[in-house]
Symmetry: C2
Subunit: 236 residues, 2 copies
Amino acid sequence: MRYELYYWPQIQGRGEFVRLALEEAGADYVDVARMSGGEDRMMALMQAPGPKTPPFAPPFLKAGKLLIAQTANILLYLGDHLALAPKSEAGRLWVHQLQLTIADLVVEVHDTHHPIGSGLYYEEQKPESARRAEDFRAHRAPKFFQYFERILAHSDGPYLTGRRATYADLSLFQVVEGMRYAFPILSKRLAKKHPHIVELHRKVAMRSRIAAYLKSERRIAFNQMGIFRCYEDLDG
Amino acid sequence: MRYELYYWPQIQGRGEFVRLALEEAGADYVDVARMSGGEDRMMALMQAPGPKTPPFAPPFLKAGKLLIAQTANILLYLGDHLALAPKSEAGRLWVHQLQLTIADLVVEVHDTHHPIGSGLYYEEQKPESARRAEDFRAHRAPKFFQYFERILAHSDGPYLTGRRATYADLSLFQVVEGMRYAFPILSKRLAKKHPHIVELHRKVAMRSRIAAYLKSERRIAFNQMGIFRCYEDLDG
């Protein structure tokens, strides 16, 4: 089956968590909005009165007759179909729980530069961003990193669930990538205290399909429009 | 099986979405932290080095040998086991997608009074809250309500998926309840434009087990410690 991914073509954003899963599995997919006329097709699909399961926002995935939205939900589906998650109920729920916790962290990263409104520019909310980012650096980022470090320290391998990489590992890799871009100073401090997370990032980056993807043109560079943005003021 | 729910005993919060599902299904469950010594047990379970699937935060559910965290993930599990979701893959994913969108809305409600940091008091972030709430009232709340209204208008019954109530319907009911408490003025305005949501709320409130629960002592009253808080300044 050829999957159709719909996401903003200019950024990694939340779509990147899906792209990484598709790439790791060597899946046949089209990144629709990056094709000619594709962004219009994406908008049309969102606004069409027809579909029974309309997305609230991108990313969404067409998989045969299914139209699936919400990043973690798409990954739940791909985890089953592309063998990127355990098959047991307990294992599936655990990996999904990890993914939802990563999603919570991603919201908090986004809100460091958009604490007031996602429809406003960063420049319209700079003082509030500075305060929110201070709290993020001091409390929230360390709390999330500690949590994932603890899980990796107790795991039987380099990955969150042991020796096999799941979609949650790919997502945690992406968080580390994004943090390094957006918060280079904070990231160095976090790296020292969380060696297992650093190692997970290294292992994922070395996986052959991921390594090939990261070097390809399919990987959009980080930039100042995505979730992870590099504003010196916010890195302390 | 007797389920054990672990959540802060003083508030509805995110735990309430799980409580409503357990109540609707007539499930056998204990709200552990509301028992004598229960909050200590909850904290101990979170900090214990032992469990293989530690929660990042409450709520979490013990179901036999499983320890499941993240509200939407708990509901995914209960949806299957308590017949609160369709059985088909397409139906399960759709209800979960709706739940994750409700979860996004809940984060935005929380951030109207905590835009800077969840560890700070509201009184320490009042000007920022006023700005964030203004954006929420003008843009975000209407956008979410429009989305759910549109789905209900196209559905074959009073509920999101038609004639059978799912856990997402219970959660949407709870959002309306919370909005009426926290944003009474905004809620009246939203109600006029979203009659299907008003009707869904009414239908859920009339379901016999939910009606009994709402009248019982098990239902904690809304208060100024939960996600939905009533600050006049924020209601415009």
